[in-house]
Symmetry: C2
């Protein structure tokens, strides 16, 4: 099944895990994240600026500027990071916010729905702090 | 997250659900499946011939020929159908049979692994008979 993170999703997860591994006050440059996680720096900057709009990241401009997490790494779930970049999880198009043409009679929707909720439950259970702690 | 069935996977599921809704002995033509499920007939034929190689489907040629399920619909899980067409489930490339470059130190692998197993568990729990019964 095609159930992979997009590249943007993967880079967002890695970038925020890197920020989570830094001290809470440290303002980290996009170039540092890029070097540590082997991600093109322009991609890192674009993702972090985008996440700054969601509150998951804080962006500080000018001299001494950089990025920090928007709140404690214990309070940011893997699900929040992935959905901030990729939108709501959807195993099948019939699970997008707009119901599929067959709903509510579609016999498959309840199966996808249950599979999706299972993934959401797992990704919600892990915070950035949990994952950084495994390193 | 990009976690959608491929079109081939979706068509395989729908085609086998249609066969599961027929009597066990009925040999169903690809054209009948195609009309009922609104799938291009060439696509149906290709998928069913391909699934015949896995044993999920039986193909009978010649006059009176057609397709049946390879075993009872209670004994074919959604997971088996999807994996027969799409290969093993993989939420992230690091879950493909070949480990990612970072394994076993990759902190993300255990999270993806757990999410993947959650999906597998759901899809394995539902047989074709379960889903047809919901119609």
């Amino acid at each position: 099944m095609a159930m992979q993170l997009t590249r943007a999703g993967e880079y967002a997860v890695k970038s925020l895990l890197y920020l989570a591994s830094q001290s809470a006050e440290a303002r980290t440059m996009a170039s540092e994240v890029a070097a540590a996680e082997q991600i093109p720096v322009n991609f890192v900057r674009k993702i972090l600026e985008s996440l700054a709009k969601t509150g998951l990241v804080k962006s500080y401009r000018g001299a001494g500027g950089g990025f920090t997490l928007g709140r404690a790494p214990e309070q940011i779930s893997m699900r929040q990071v992935i959905e901030a970049v990729e939108g709501p999880l959807a195993l099948n198009q019939c699970l997008l916010p707009i119901p599929c043409a067959k709903a509510p009679d579609c016999p498959l929707c309840p199966v996808w729905q249950e599979a999706q909720q299972a993934v959401e439950t797992v990704l919600e259970r892990y915070s950035l702090a949990d994952v950084v702690g495994k390193r």
